[in-house]
Amino acid sequence: MRTWFPYPLLSVGLLLVWLLLNQSVAPGTIIMGTLLAIGLGWVTLKLGLVHSHPRRILLIVRFGFTVALDVIRSNIAVIAVILRGQRRPPNPGFLTIDLDLDDENALALLACVMTATPGTAWLEYDRHRKSLLFHVLDMENEDVWLDTVKRYETALKEIFG
């Protein structure tokens, strides 16, 4: 099984993308998509991606919901900052936090989440010290931002743990 599908989730995702792009579920498209999915799965074997095993679907769904809520909230906050303009300029700043994540994919997911929420931007991660440097647009109190990142970290540790 492993030799045929090195990355099962990736292959299924590729097949879905192929079907969506062609906008059909005709047998021919499915066969072509399956061939492509298996072939590209072998190609990515050369890249040497890191395997990780996310567990507990329920936790993943809950994490997705919290992230979606945070994205909406921070969207509104950043819109308010921009519209306020020069009357009350934002108070940007750099923050450093120590992370305790070993899984590469969990780190990548954390980076995606932090950059996707407006208001925080991932800048640099030091592998030796395991510390992360990120930029915050409006730093009213730093503890809130540090708490947010810590919350994501514990959620990701539970998922990938």
């Binding site: 969506l20 969207n75 303009g85 950059t115 930029h135």
Partner: protein, 123 residues
């Protein structure tokens, strides 16, 4: 413009509202790109367009085509997934490049490179 009038009222209201809202969010993001004074602040502006704007306009497009052609094909989801996955990569790379350049030119107000731990230096 004949096809848009075929939309039932509820769908038309949703499509128009989401399109205008999404465009407004993207516009505010670009205004932020102009208004902010430092690069690191400007780094936050495009995420407005890529999270709020793309999500709303793609949802409007999905609803419009689904109701008009009564085919439940969500290929706009591809755009949402693609943008959500790729924007962090671009912004992270740009942030790192800016940090690197600022450090090389020794600009003020930029955090310094963290020193590697002692024991690894000794090796």
């Amino acid at each position: 413009m004949s096809h848009l009038t075929d939309l039932p009222v509820w769908a038309a209201v949703i499509v128009c509202g989401l399109t205008v809202l999404g465009a407004a969010v993207a516009l505010i993001g670009s205004v932020g790109l102009i208004r902010f004074t430092s690069f690191y602040e400007r780094l936050h502006a495009p995420t407005l367009a890529t999270s709020g704007g793309v999500l709303m306009i793609c949802t409007a497009s999905i609803i419009c085509f689904a109701v008009l052609q009564s085919r439940w094909v969500f290929h706009e989801i591809l755009i949402i997934v693609f943008v959500v996955v790729t924007t962090p990569v671009t912004l992270m790379l740009l942030g790192q490049a800016a940090l690197y350049r600022d450090r090389v030119e020794e600009q003020r107000g930029v955090p310094l490179k963290q020193r590697p731990p002692r024991e690894e230096q000794a090796e």
